[in-house]
Every structure is written in structure tokens, then in C-alpha cells.
Symmetry: C2
Subunit: 214 residues, 2 copies
Amino acid sequence: MKRIADSTVRRLSMYLRYLEDLDTRGQATASSDELAHLCGTTPAQVRKDLSFFGSFGKRGLGYPVHELTAHLREILGLGQEWKVIIVGAGKIGAALANYRGFRQRGFTVVGVYDSDPAKVGTPWGASTVRAMQDLTTDVAREGASIAVLAIPSENAQAVVDTIVGAGIRAILNFAPTQITVPPHVSLKSVNMAMELEGLSFALTNAELIDQGAA
Amino acid sequence: MKRIADSTVRRLSMYLRYLEDLDTRGQATASSDELAHLCGTTPAQVRKDLSFFGSFGKRGLGYPVHELTAHLREILGLGQEWKVIIVGAGKIGAALANYRGFRQRGFTVVGVYDSDPAKVGTPWGASTVRAMQDLTTDVAREGASIAVLAIPSENAQAVVDTIVGAGIRAILNFAPTQITVPPHVSLKSVNMAMELEGLSFALTNAELIDQGAA
């Protein structure tokens, strides 16, 4: 079977957002033109992205909003609860732990960890910050599969090795460094300094920017 | 002149990080093989990315680390200070304002704004949170060109219209919604729920993932 690019998955997430919105407002069908307009892409791209997962909608009638919403939720693996640990009890960790969007999509934070003894045991929402030494047994007991890495660059790889060893199969990395994971582990990195550098590049080289790829 | 994709600019940022590291450690030259290995890409990709901006290095000798570092900094627009405002004095705003990586790359936060009267005037580092009504005159006076948007989705577009009207030319958007900007404004969006959805997709559809595009 053909493999799916990261950019396609991002568009599926975006279609889902708008479809949920249309569904809430009671709209029964949506055309590829409408979805394309809402998501900033082309109708052909919408049709191509959705056709990958089966045949939706009828020519000339548009997509059935409620059905397609349910199907996209299933495709994106949002029909179940995902247990998430946050490693790093700093400001980024706090911002993420409180992020409404996570809970709304079925991501439950089951533990927050820090290597700093001064932070371990301090209050964190309804719970407390846990010690890194407890991570492996906690992950096994609670069945966590996703880790958010919100730590400085130093020792990031050692922390990754620990959480992968504990059974974590997907990592969202905010540490501003390159980390490596075994093939069975999924990794996404968000590097905020690099995002800003993309903007400074754009401000400096306005004529070179491919807006379509931005 | 050919336009440059966002993914190329990200790789240039990454090359720069490793070259700075090599430069600090006193290494005089680096091969495309070495850079490719450090950055998780191919030597051919490294050569293609760098050739776009001129002829660097000599065949068989590798790239001169110090020179290429300086050149990449210039290409990325990092030779100058960029003044940044943060809109939204919540946890994400706080995490970003304190992010060491920003200051290290020449991005200076000159003001933090919030529409909540309860937050306006409260301490924020060495300064205080400012009112949205002051944004337009502040941006003009201080010459800020980049805004980080760390607000909820509601009214995000209205805030964008205000800051674009104030003269901001580049926006890093953390609001989990689609916003539109005029063609002369650069926009990058980081949607953390969508990043997590990419991971839940990967966990659910392991066989469909294009690891090369992740």
C-alpha cells in the first residue's frame, strides 16, 4: 500500500476541524471546493487526500459531513484515549499540560516528570511532578504510549533512550536538538527558534519565498 | 530566480546549528557527508541546498566551516536584531518569552500584550504586560517586525488584522485556528494538537507512514 506523507496527515487534521465545525452547525454536506477554501488548499488536493482512504460522497452532492467526520476521526486514531507523559516540568511543559486542545482530542496527560530533585513532588494540577526514576514502571503500569519532550538540549538523547526503553512509541520533541529513535518509534519535532529563523529568512529574502510551500 | 521551499529553509537552519557547533570545537572543514549525517539527510541534498546560494567549498576538501557559518547566518537574516512582540500573556507566551534559543539567535522580545484587563500592568520579566490598545503605537515606535501569536482561537483573525495593520510583517501563530494574512506578511503556524494527531495517526496506521517525510 502507498505510504502517506506527513503533509497529507496534517491536511486530514485540518479537514476534520472544519468538518466538526460544519457538523456542529448542522450542515449535512460539504463540497471539495468548500473544504479546499476553508483549509487553504485546492479541491483536487481535497479529493486526492480523501480518496486515499476510500470512496466518500457522491459526485455533485458533496461529502456527507457527519459520516466523513466520524471516518476521519477513526483514520487519525482519535476514537480512543491516548495516554501521554510530559518530560520536563518547565514552562513549555506547563503550557502543554494545560492545553485544552489536547484533552478535547482524547489525549490525557497521565504523568509529568523532571530530573530536578527540587521540582519532584511539587504540585502539578491535581497531581505532583514525578522523578525520572519512576518513569519506566509508571509507563508500563499506566499504558502511556506518547511522550512530550520539553527539556533542554543537554542529555535529550539519554532521556529519549530511557523513554523508548520504557515502551513509549511516539515522541513530540520540543528540545532544540536532533534526536534519534528506533524505526518503530514515531517522532515529531517542534523547534521554535527554527520557526522564527524561517520568518527572519522570509523577511530578509522576500523575493525567494515559495508561498505555496510555507 | 527559483523560489525556495520551507523545507529547504529548515535544513539551512539545521546545517547552521551543526556548523556553529563544529566551528566552536575548532573544526576547519566539513564534508557534505558529515553534514548530511548530522542533519539526517543525504549528501546530495546538502550539496543541492547549499549550491542554491553560491559556490561553497572545494571538491574533495569539504566546506570551510567558519566561512559557511557566517554565510548561512547572513542568508537566514540572522546578522541583525529582530524585534519581536508576543500577543497573549498566557503560559505559551511565558514559555516563549523565556526561551533561551530566541535571544541566542538575535530575536529580542520588546513587548508582551494581552486583551485581558486583569493581566495588563502585571509584571513580565523586567517589564509589564501591555494593553492591546497600545500595540499599534508601540510597534511603530520600537520597529518590531515579528509577532508571536499565543492566544486562543476566538478572535484570532481580528488580532491578526490589528497587528498587520500596525506594521508587523511576520507572524508565528500558536492559535489553533486557520488565519489569513496579506501577501506581504509571512506566516508560520504551530498547532500542537495537530502535531499530536500526527502521532496518533502514526500509532494507528504504522504501516502507512512515510518515515522519510516525518
